[in-house]
């Protein structure tokens, strides 16, 4: 599985309130949430984002509220992968559980700029910055999480392992 796209770059501690402000949490419709994705940190994001694009950020991406609406909005906006130096733990779990690919890689977070064309190979964990001609090795998922990712989320994983 691979992803390739243009990069939107953000800094430290991007919280789930700016990813999807609570004023829109009276909806749980992914398409509607996507229209407000990143609104309080980058008003132009929803106008510019194209299917396959990649978000790159520094440390503690997705901190704050446990709202699953945050990774749902990012995924529904068309983002194919989020790369960060570190992720807040609930956002990390939520992303795996809903099937939004994420990778921790401090070197990539430093070596990738906004607008770069980046390719990610999820099987090998390799991240290629095609604009700059550089490559990075991301943190591989433990086997258990890989199973959830391969099942495309926790619900499918549980269904596959439960008999009615």
């Amino acid at each position: 599985m691979k992803a390739e796209g243009r990069v939107f770059k953000y800094g430290d501690n991007v919280d789930t309130d700016v990813i999807i402000p609570a004023r829109y949490l009276n909806s749980s419709d992914p398409a509607e949430l996507a229209t407000h994705c990143m609104e309080d940190i980058d008003k132009e994001f929803v106008n510019k984002v194209q299917k396959g694009d990649i978000i790159v950020a520094n440390k503690n991406f997705g901190c704050g509220s446990s709202r699953e609406h945050a990774p749902i909005a990012i995924k529904a906006a068309g983002v194919s992968c989020v790369i960060a130096e570190t992720f807040a733990r609930i956002f990390y779990r939520n992303s795996i559980n809903i099937g939004l690919p994420i990778i921790e890689c401090p070197e990539a977070a430093k070596g990738i700029d906004a607008g770069d064309d980046v390719e990610v190979d999820f099987d090998s964990g390799m991240i290629y910055n095609k604009t700059k001609g550089t490559e990075f090795k991301g943190q591989a998922f433990p086997e258990f999480m890989q199973k959830i990712i391969k099942a495309e989320g926790l619900v499918n994983y549980i269904n596959a392992n439960t008999t009615k």
Binding site: N13, D15, D17, V18, P21, A22, R23, L25, N26, S27, S28, D40, I41, K59, N60, C63, G64, S65, S66, R67, E68, H69, P71, I72, T86, A88, R89, I90, R93, N94, N97, I98, P142, F144, G153, L154, V155, I158, N159, T162, T163, K164
Partner: protein, 422 residues
């Protein structure tokens, strides 16, 4: 190598003799929690599962607290979805208007969370119950759905940071100052993926409500959970509130911690987190400028308990809210509301010029009941001061204790009660 308190609870819940940091385990759950924002997403996910009943109707708690009484049609639809689910599955612990309270104040009060429990909640402040010696942590809606269906959850066993609490706090210093001080010291990701284990002789000087406040904000340092030892104060609270049996776990003497800090309560000062991160802390003495404010909020899962209201009332008893300042007081549960009424606290608030609201999370997350306009500033006893958290993207939130919040309502700027001669 010994285990931390958290590791011992997780080992027992996973049926293992021993666990170590980094190990992936599957643990049995004692309670699965959701609210009116996160539960509809979980219910939708559960609909996709082959399992069509909840694992135990007594071990699921659904608390309508964020946008209710319904703030708009969409919120009403969400609550309706949860209400119908609760009815269909005969959920014992479903709390709607009239019975509801802010979830993390309500569940301990109802006796649903006790020492030794393993609890997940689709709300980041689920870590609050660590105050009673439980392992509790926030998750998302899909984890909640899986928890409701299977009664189990997967965890990566966390390593821990130990906070050795010593000394006794001064008059206007409370749990909020302790946790803001700690977050200021270690940062908003200082405990990322880790347990924050509080220990030491100073804990006896922290009330149960102080401990709830401290454990509640472990997530604001990135922590997986915050946890306190089970002492007489905790046992008295559980005896008063719960019929359930609890189990006391203690860290091994040779438990290994990533870091250890000593917090001397006697040296702490009223502490305020400036915009836009809980780690941007200053003590009241370090604030040299006049930070003029427009609104004060006293409430939330962090600071809406009876101790918090008593402190605020003590300050507002002989003072008035400054003209032009909106002071919103929100008792966290119906029981606290009633208690505040019986103790005469509500009268004090109203006569001082504050408004008293039914329990709701509303203003804390910019939902309703106190949204900020452009360039407005709020001193709030809530837990997050992120950009736009309480309203306009160009508004500002200053996190503080109930004492500082009440004093600031009187002066119209960030103030300590000491400024009022108290």
């Amino acid at each position: 190598m010994g285990m931390t308190m958290t590791q011992k609870i997780l080992a027992a819940a996973a049926g293992l003799e021993k666990v170590e940091a980094g190990q992936l385990i599957e643990a049995e759950l004692d309670l699965v929690l959701g609210n009116d924002i996160t539960s509809p997403v979980a219910i939708h996910e559960m609909d996709k599962m082959t399992v069509d009943t909840v694992f135990d109707k007594d071990k699921v708690a659904l608390v309508m607290d964020h946008f209710i009484p319904n703030k708009d049609i969409k919120s009403a639809q969400h609550c309706k979805c949860v209400r119908e689910f609760a009815c269909k599955h005969d959920i014992t612990n479903y709390f709607d208007v009239g019975e509801m309270g802010i979830e993390h104040a309500l569940l301990p009060e109802k006796g649903l969370t006790v020492a030794g429990d393993v609890i997940i909640g689709a709300d980041s402040h689920t870590c609050t119950y660590g105050a009673l010696g439980a392992f509790s942590t926030g998750v998302g809606s899909t984890d909640m759905a899986a928890g409701m269906a299977t009664g189990k959850a997967w965890f990566k066993v966390p390593s821990a940071i130990k906070f050795n609490i010593v000394g006794k706090p001064a008059k206007w210093v409370s749990g909020k100052d302790v946790i803001l001080h700690i977050i200021g010291m270690i940062g908003v990701d200082g405990a990322l993926y880790k347990s924050m284990e509080f220990t030491g002789e100073g804990i006896k000087n922290l009330s149960m409500d102080d401990r709830f406040t401290i454990a509640n904000m472990a997530i604001e340092a990135g922590g997986k959970n915050g946890i306190f030892p089970v002492d007489d104060v905790a046992m008295t609270y559980m005896k008063e509130h719960s019929k359930r049996e609890w189990k006391v776990f203690e860290a091994d003497e040779d438990a290994v911690y990533d870091e250890e800090y000593t917090i001397d309560l006697s040296t702490l000062r009223p502490t305020i987190a400036f915009p836009h991160l809980p780690e941007n802390t200053k003590t009241i003495d370090e604030i040299t400028e006049n930070v003029k404010i427009d609104q004060v909020v006293i409430g939330s899962c962090t600071n809406g308990r009876i101790d918090d209201l008593r402190i605020a009332a003590e300050i507002l008893a002989d003072n008035k809210v400054k003209k032009g300042i909106r002071c919103i007081v929100i008792p966290a549960t119906q029981k606290i509301y009633l208690q505040a009424m019986e103790e005469g606290l509500l009268k004090i608030f109203i006569e001082a010029g504050a408004v008293v609201s039914t329990p709701t999370c509303g203003p804390c997350l910019g939902g309703y009941m106190g949204i900020l306009a452009e360039n407005e500033r709020c001193v709030s006893t809530t837990n997050r001061n992120f950009v736009g958290r309480m309203g306009h993207v160009d508004s500002e939130i200053y996190l503080a204790s109930p004492a500082v919040a009440a004093a600031s309502a009187v002066t119209g700027k960030i103030s300590s009660p000491e400024e009022l001669g108290l």
